[in-house]
Amino acid sequence: MPETRKIDLVIIGGGPAGLAAAVAAWDGGCRSLLILERDVRLGGILQQCIHNGFGLHVFHEELTGPEYADRYIRQVQERGIPFQCDTMVLDVSPQRLVTAVSPAHGLVQIQAGAVILAMGCRERPRGALAIPGTNCAGIMTTGTAQRLVNLESLVPGKRIVILGSGDIGLIMARRMTCIGAEVLACVELMPFSSGLTRNVVQCLHDYNIPLLLSHTVIAIEGRERLTGVTIAEVDPATRKPIPGTEEKIACDTLLLSVGLIPENELSRSAGVSLSEVTQGPLVDQNLLTDVPGVFACGNVLHVHDLVDEVSEESARAGLAALAWIREPASQTGSGLEPIRVRDGKGVRGIVPQQITRPVQLPKLHLTFRPDAVYKQATIRVEVDGETVLRQKRLIMTPGEMAVVDLPTGRFDPASAREIAVHVEVNA
C-alpha cells in the first residue's frame, strides 16, 4: 500500500457544499486541506443546472448554476486551495482514514484530522417506486435527462410525461419544452407540488404545462421503447389510484422526479448514524456527526431547495471542522448530555438533531420541512414543554425548507433537555 499522507481537513465532494466549506476553512486559517471530487471538474451538479435563479441570497444577484459554481471555484483557485478531480473516494474509516482512487494518482490513502462529508444526493430511480409495467427504454430520472441535454446536447425524447414535481422535474419540464419537445403533463402524487412555488409558476404555468396533482403513473407500456403511460387520480388520503380515473397518455419518454436521497454510502462506511427521516447523518449544531471529527453539510445531510442555503450551511461546517482540528475537545469535551432536538407536530426532518453542550453560539439554526401545506401558520419552539419562541408564516409547504433561528438566550442551555418544534395553524 502507498504511504499514508496526513492532511488536516479532507473534504469529500467538490460541489457547492465542498467548495463553500473549503473556502470558509481556509479563510479561518486552515492551510492543510484537500478537496476530493469525482467529476473531472469542480462544481458538482451545478454544472448541468444552466437555468438561472441561483445566488439571490449569497451574491444578491441571479446567476445560472455554472456561474454560481464558478464564483466559488474562483475563490478556491485564488486562495490556492488544493483539490483533486477525477477522484473517487472508496472508503472512509471511523478513524478518518480516507481511501481514494484516480487515474492520475492511483490509489491513495489519507489520514485526515477532520473530514467533511459533502457528497450531495442522488435521484430515486423507478425501481424504488415499483411502478408496474415494462422495463423499456425511454424512462430516466430528470437529472440524467438534464445532464444529457445540457452537457451533451442529446435529446432523451420528444413526447414527455414527468412523474413528480420536484424542482428538477419542473425545471426539466420547461427545458424540454424550450428544446422543442412536447411536455404532456407533470404528474404529482401529492395534493401539492414538492418543488418551489416560483418553479411551478415559471416552469409549468408560464408554458401551459398541466400539473396534475393527486395523480400518479400506474402503468408503463412499450416493449422496446416507451409507447405510453397510464395515469390515474389518487385518493389524497390513501394515495391509492381511484378506479375509473385511468387515462392513457401516448408518449416516448417518462422522466422521474420522485425524490432525492442523500448519498451516504461513505458516511455508513465511516460508522456515521443516519436519520430515518432526512436519510442524512445525525448532527449537532456544529454539523458534527456522531463519529469524532466527521462533519456533514449540503445535500448529503438533508436535501436543500436552494444552493445558497447549502453554501451557508457548508461554510459553518468548514469553520466547525477547523475548530475541531485546532482543539477537538472544544466540541465534545464537556461530557455533558446533549440537548435533544425533535420533530414536533407538523414537522419533519429537523436538523440538527441534537445540541452539544456547552452551547457557544448566540442562536441555533434549525431547519425542517412541514408535513403538509399550512396557511397562516405559527412555528412554535418548546424547550422541555415550555414555549420559548413563536414565529408566524403566511404559508408553509413541504417543498420549501423552513428555517427558524432560536436565540440561545431564550432558555437555559445548561439545564435544557429537549427542544421540540411544532407547526400550528393560527386560531
Binding site: 487515474p103 425501481g127 442529446l154 416493449r223 422496446e224
Partner: protein, 494 residues
C-alpha cells in the same frame, strides 16, 4: 452448411453449444435478441435447486440432481460466482410440518444428498429474520445461488472461443427439413445444418411442431420479482422457500451472489410470450406472500422490479433428446425450473447424443474459457493499487453504486462476445445494476459504447431492436412551439 444449429441463446442453448464445441463439429447458435441470456435466463430466481421438489422418475428430478452436483466445477471453470447458501423450505403452521417430511421423502427418492428437518429453534438460529409463524424447515444443504446471465455469457463466450459461431439479432422465422438437412429461415437468409437443437425457450413448441408429429404446447408462465438494495443482502443466508404449490415453488426470498435480495416470483399463465411487464397485482402479491417469511420487508429500499417467463410444457416435464420421428432434431424444451440447475447435465447429455448421431469424435484441444479480471469491487486495496498502476482506467469509477471503473466497462465492450447495448454492459460489468439503476453511469457508459463501437450515441439501445435510449441531438430538434393558452383548458384535468 453447419453440422449443428442451436436455436436459442439462453443458458440451455449456450451450454449445449459449448459442449458441442468439444466435438469435431461446426456449430452455429442463433439468438433472436441482441445478446445472449436476454429471455428467461436473465429473469428468474437464480437458484441452484437441491432437487427435493421434482416428481420422482421425471427428467426434471434426474437432471436436477445431476446438474446440482456438477454446478460447482462448472462455475469454477468459468470463474463465475456460485454459492451453496443452502435452501430452507419453511413451514409456517404446524399443519405444514408433515408436508416437509413428504418433501424430504421425495428428495430421498430423487437421490438428493444433505436433506434434514430442522426445528424452529434451529431455524431461528440460522435465520433470525424469519417470520414469527415459522415452525420448522426442510434444510437442503446442496441448494445454491448463481448469476444466470453472467454464467450464460461465459458459456457462450467459451463456445465462441472454441469455434462456435454466435449470431445475435437472428430470429428463426421458420424451420423445415429438406433432403435430410435442416433449414432455419432468418431475416439474414437461411441457415442449413445436418442436426438441429431446439433450445428456444417459450417458443420451443413453435420450432418442434414445425418438424415433428409429436407436438406439445409451451405456455409462458410469468413470474414477477422485486429486488432490494445490497444493504439488505445479509438479511437471509439461505434461500427461503414456502411450501410448493401446483403452480411452482411459491414466493421465495433469496440473497443473490451480488448480495442484493430478490423476492418473488408470482406464477401467472399468459397468452403473449413476450410480455414481461410487471403488474400492480403481481407486485402486491409478492409482498403480501413474502411477508409471511419476512414481516419487516424494507419496502423503501427496492431498487428494481422485473418479470420473467417460465417455459411451461403441457407435459409437465422437460422434453429432452432426439425426436422419435425426426432424426437429427433434438429438443431441450419445456425448460422451466429447475432448468438452470439441470443445465450442465442437459448440455453434456444432449451434446453427446448429437455427436453420436453425427459420428463426431472429440477434438484434441479445447481452448480455455475467457476469464475476466477480478472485479474492482471485490479487490483488496492492495489489488486495486496494482490494477490502477498497470492501467489508469481502473482509477476512473464510472458506476459509483457498484464501483465499476472505466477499465471494466471497456473490457465488457472489447471482450469476445462483447457488449453492444447498455444492458449488455450492465450484465458484463454490473454498471447500472446498483441502487441508482444507471442514473449516474448511463450517460458515461453511452459515451464509452459510442466511442468503442464507432456508433453515434443516438443509435445506441438498451437491449437492441427499437429500444433506443435517445431520440436525437439538440441540433436536430425543431423550433419549440409552446402550446397556445386555449389548448391548456382542454388538457387540464379537473
Amino acid at each position: 452448411m453447419f453440422d449443428v444449429t442451436v436455436i436459442g441463446g439462453g443458458v440451455i442453448g449456450a451450454a449445449i453449444a459449448r459442449e458441442l464445441a468439444r466435438y469435431r463439429l461446426s456449430v452455429v447458435l442463433l439468438e433472436r435478441k441482441s445478446d445472449v441470456a436476454e429471455g428467461t435466463t436473465k429473469a428468474n430466481s437464480a437458484i441452484i435447486h437441491a432437487g427435493y421438489d421434482a416428481k420422482p422418475g421425471s427428467q426434471k428430478a434426474r437432471t436436477n440432481v445431476l446438474g446440482n452436483a456438477m454446478f460447482e466445477d462448472w462455475c469454477a471453470e468459468l470463474d463465475v460466482p456460485f454459492r451453496r447458501n443452502t435452501s430452507l423450505v419453511v413451514a409456517f403452521s404446524d399443519a405444514d410440518l408433515p408436508g416437509l417430511a413428504d418433501l424430504m421423502a421425495r428428495g430421498d427418492e430423487n437421490g438428493v444428498p444433505g436433506l434434514s428437518l430442522i426445528d424452529e429453534a434451529e431455524l431461528r438460529r440460522r435465520e433470525p429474520n424469519i417470520g414469527p409463524k415459522a415452525r420448522g424447515a426442510l434444510l437442503a444443504e446442496t441448494g445454491g445461488i448463481c448469476c444466470p446471465y453472467e454464467l450464460t455469457i461465459s458459456l457462450a463466450t467459451h463456445a465462441l472461443l472454441n469455434g462456435v459461431e454466435i449470431r445475435l439479432n437472428t430470429p428463426v422465422t421458420g424451420v423445415s427439413r429438406e433432403n435430410g438437412t435442416f433449414v432455419c429461415q432468418t431475416p439474414q437468409g437461411p441457415v442449413v445444418s445436418r442436426a438441429l437443437v431446439n433450445a428456444a425457450g417459450v417458443y420451443a413448441d413453435t420450432i418442434n411442431n414445425q418438424l415433428s408429429e409429436d407436438t406439445f404446447t409451451i405456455t409462458a408462465r410469468r413470474g414477477e420479482y422485486v429486488m432490494l438494495d445490497k444493504r439488505f443482502g445479509p438479511a437471509f443466508k439461505a434461500t427461503i422457500f414456502q411450501m410448493p404449490t401446483p403452480m411452482g415453488k411459491g414466493v421465495l426470498i433469496t440473497p443473490t451472489v451480488e448480495d442484493t435480495v430478490i423476492l418473488g416470483p408470482t406464477a401467472e399463465d399468459i397468452e403473449d410470450k413476450d410480455d414481461v411487464r410487471t403488474t400492480a397485482a403481481g407486485l402486491e402479491q409478492v409482498l403480501r406472500v413474502a411477508a409471511l417469511s419476512w414481516p419487516q420487508i424494507p419496502t423503501r429500499h427496492f431498487i428494481t422490479a422485473f418479470a420473467g417467463l417460465r417455459a411451461h410444457c403441457d407435459r409437465n416435464d422437460f422434453i429432452l433428446g432426439e425426436a422419435a420421428d425426426v432424426p437429427g432434431f433434438f429438443n431441450a424444451a419445456g425448460i422451466e425450473s429447475p432448468g438452470l440447475t439441470a443445465a450442465p447435465a442437459i448440455a453434456a447429455e444432449l451434446a453427446g447424443q448429437v455427436a453420436d448421431r453425427l459420428n463426431a469424435g472429440k477434438k484434441d484441444t479445447f481452448n480455455p474459457p475467457y476469464l475476466a479480471r477480478k472485479p474492482f469491487r471485490l479487490m483488496s486495496h492492495a489489488e486495486r493499487e496494482a490494477a490502477v498502476a498497470a492501467d489508469p482506467a481502473y482509477g476512473r469509477i464510472i458506476c459509483r453504486c457498484e464501483s465499476v471503473p472505466e477499465a471494466e466497462i471497456l473490457e465488457a465492450i472489447r471482450r469476445p462476445l462483447g457488449a453492444t447495448t447498455l444492458d449488455g454492459v450492465k450484465r458484463r460489468a454490473r454498471a447500472g445494476m446498483g441502487r441508482c439503476q444507471g442514473g449516474f453511469c448511463a450517460p458515461r457508459v453511452l459515451e464509452l459504447l459510442s466511442r468503442e463501437l464507432g456508433v453515434p450515441q443516438t443509435e445506441l439501445t438498451k437491449f437492441g431492436g427499437a429500444s433506443r435510449i435517445l431520440s436525437g441531438t439538440l441540433g436536430e430538434m425543431a423550433e419549440p412551439q409552446p402550446r397556445a393558452a386555449q389548448e391548456r383548458t382542454g388538457e387540464t384535468h379537473a
